[in-house]
Symmetry: D2
Subunit: 295 residues, 4 copies
């Protein structure tokens, strides 16, 4: 099976390598060419432009950094739209908002192409290990045809119906995650100020009914005020905002998520936006004498 692959960032590179190692023929493109050469060493062909990749391959996967990059490879010169046509499938695995996804979908289908949005849950390590969770939505036939690739890239894929549902599902998950991170931060702060040992709280949590990988992984680094950005706080806050906007459209009242969103905004106002989203703990902790110490 031959697959085009657009975007070789941390995630994209790991995914393309996995495809190559499982016997797929892969033609790659990346804005900066050097990344392509690393893949060529693993056996990939190189496409000069997004259009060239689409022209050559029946299926093309994109893994871009953000909505503007996702739009650019489709709509700009030498982009996907110039050559996509009946019989070709385009699978965008970037994380974008539902509107961006819909815009790309409409443009591609207008040219006769097939479209699937397929954002993933999981970051670098799961990408390398082929353990992503794939949230696919759009053309059902395309989903079924691309399953062999998804089986290599992820431990599980879901087909969620119409375009937009993949992005929405990701927003719902990230909204729950953001509220949980705030609850966790409030709990750590309450424990600390009440004279309890925070490390013991982590140990107790990890043995009970709400034990989860996030608490286990982030807890120890939060206690050290270490916030190397795996998922930047400003992006988490943006996802909270988009999830609340989705709730607004559908008249869903979400007071806990709204309170969590305001806490993330407070963290942004304290200059923590580029740190890991767990840095909201610093905003929760701000108190007399500590505020200046958080920066």
């Amino acid at each position: 099976m031959e697959i085009g692959f657009l975007g070789l960032g941390i995630m994209g590179k790991a995914m393309a390598v996995n495809l190559l190692r499982h016997g797929f023929k892969v033609t790659v493109w990346n804005r900066t060419l050097s990344k392509c050469e690393e893949l060529a060493a693993e056996g990939a062909s190189i496409g000069e432009t997004p259009a060239a990749v689409i022209k050559k391959c029946k299926y093309t996967i994109a893994m871009l950094s953000d909505p503007s990059a996702a739009l650019s490879v489709v709509f700009d010169k030498d982009g996907v739209l110039e050559v996509i046509c009946d019989g070709k499938g385009y699978i965008d695995m970037s994380t974008v908002d539902p509107d961006t996804s819909l815009k790309i979908s409409e443009a591609i289908e207008h040219k006769g192409g097939y479209f699937l949005e397929a954002p993933v849950s999981g970051s670098k390590k799961p990408a390398e290990d082929g353990q992503l969770v794939i949230l696919a939505a759009g053309k059902k036939e395309l989903y079924e045809e691309i399953i062999p690739a998804f089986d290599v890239l992820g431990k599980k894929s879901f087909y969620l119906g119409q375009v937009g549902n993949g992005a929405k599902m990701k927003l719902v998950v990230n909204m729950i995650m953001g509220s949980m991170m705030n609850a966790f931060s409030e709990g750590l702060c309450l424990a600390d100020r009440s004279g309890l040992n925070c490390q013991t709280l982590l140990d107790v949590l990890d043995l009970g009914g709400i034990a989860n990988p996030m608490f286990k992984m982030k807890g120890p680094t939060m206690l050290q005020s270490s916030y190397s950005p795996a998922f930047p706080l400003k992006h988490q806050q943006k996802d909270m905002r988009l999830a609340l906007a989705l709730g607004d459209e559908n008249a869903v009242s979400m007071p806990v998520a709204a309170a969590a969103n305001e806490a993330f905004k407070k963290a942004r106002s304290l200059g923590l936006g580029d740190l890991d989203f767990s840095a909201v703990y610093e905003a929760v902790k701000v108190a007399e004498g500590s505020a200046s110490g958080t920066k």
Copy 2:
């Protein structure tokens, strides 16, 4: 090792049985005598009153249903206080608030006895399996002497320092749990109203970084509006209130927990207080035409 055991409810009975099966000599007392006979069949001796049990045993564990029962066995006629004395240890594993715990502690120490509060995390099944998590606080020497019993009752015990810290640690954990349950409910409601499949959301959550036993266990029953009370909503809300009060004492601002608490109060006002705490989902879902359907 000989141990007295006061209170043979669901939890207490399972715990006393475990002690017996691991070779402890156990003398039991329960307000309704029939429960004692079940234990006698497993080899237990029977004490006529709390005082009789204390008199006979160097160490006595209590596992009562609530603060008033915990106070009653200590302070009432034929209670613990009448005979407790130097050299005897009293371990209260009931779930009570920090003030109740302190009151019992002071009374017992005033008589020369040793006291340990030791609330547990875990319900019926972990109690039967000896897999509780024990949050002990109070007399350090007593903690060390009673470890052989804790090793039988739980998978892990913590010594948390002064009396009150066990109760506080439990409040912190339950506060995080209550906020998480609200975040989860809001997410389910948002998914549903946005046209996503809630079962799929559960599947996605269970594969990701915030997967936890509570979502896995409660999710499916919540989707069926089934709320058999493992932990009644009114008790969860009471713990949220006590945790917020603890935060008030220590000037800890917890806006997410406060929003969750108000949601639980709304659920109480809708008549859901005696159902499982996951019934807060019904309050989140209340909308035109659905409100009356929730009851």
Copy 3:
């Protein structure tokens, strides 16, 4: 002074009449012609189209119902843009969001025209009495030239600087108003459920430091569950959303406004969106047995 006037709804008609009665020559246009004839009886000239009005008058005031109407009279066929030119001033007093205002401003200035946004605070009665509060922003010279008209229409006008500031000021005011309405509703509900008399609460409030016209006017109707829409709840909620979005842009955390916004969303989900914004009281009151009664 000759003034064009576009839009003769409840507000626009009252304002145009005021201008006529104070000696201004007024040329009116309205989408449905009959409204124009009422004004003609008061001495107004009639313009066939927005373009015709602009052509005839040096200054034209618009008072349209919403952003789409405001955009339509400018950009559609026979609209303002076709004839606006150097030396002519366009004053939009409609309530629109900052983005709509900016879009109109840019289009008009691109043609050489002068633009002022000037949303008002106050509804039908103040409009009739010339007691509006005018929040003007945009071309300073135009503001100064149009002051004679503003003096007739309002009791006070403010010049707030660049275009968008009028809309923003109105959002800030409405956000405070929405939070106050929620605080008021919660207080009424708390009084009622605590066995206090709500009418007495209104009397007490009216004698103290937080007495204000809104409590005085809305309180009695709220106690009668009467919500004839002076300002529809869905519009209030939209303004809360826009104000929170403005806060998001500027990293301002507003947890009280966010909680109020979620309460308005809950009210919308209960089917109260078309009632007066004070109907959020019904959402606050929802409880066992009352939910179905609110509809």
Copy 4:
């Protein structure tokens, strides 16, 4: 009419002077004697102890600083309880919580005395001007007999039913006030960060439907970060807490008040508790670089 008066702080002194000037015979007592002499110069008699005042007068008014002072004059040696008896009325106008009020009420009625709680709305200036608002509850007959005094002390008095209702009414009013102060602070902060002029916002607010004395009085000092404590923030937060507890008892969900309470708690944690309650504005404003500046 002869009236006893216990407590000559800022409020009590002003009230006792008013009674004297309107022809009442007044016998005063105060913990520090010098205050009594000031009143003697206005024509008051002096009582050596609370008991002595009660013994001499048929009606005695108390205006103490807090619940502990209110309890002390009643229950301590030479206190009210020692001599109160059938036919004598005791009117406590201090601001206390419902439980304290009930405790005093029961003790006095047990001795055959009549009791009225009558907290006031209004501070120093209204006390001097006889413009307080009086929230009376308890013995109806006593209320009717004491009206001549209330007419001198206040512009309006309310009879609210059973003891506790006066305290509750005050909590409801203060809860609304605290939420409003937060909404106001958020609005000022949003205006400032959005490039609007805060003084203009104050002017606009003062002309509209939510204009109120508190915004008018506190706004200008807040913009100067001046927080001389008319009503200390920690007392406002305590009243929010008590109001939320009252809501908890009655299953009233109050998410806006809860969010406001958490903001006041954040302000306390920043060391602002002894300043005026309007200092919550400083907590709302805390941002990168500003945090250290708030202290």
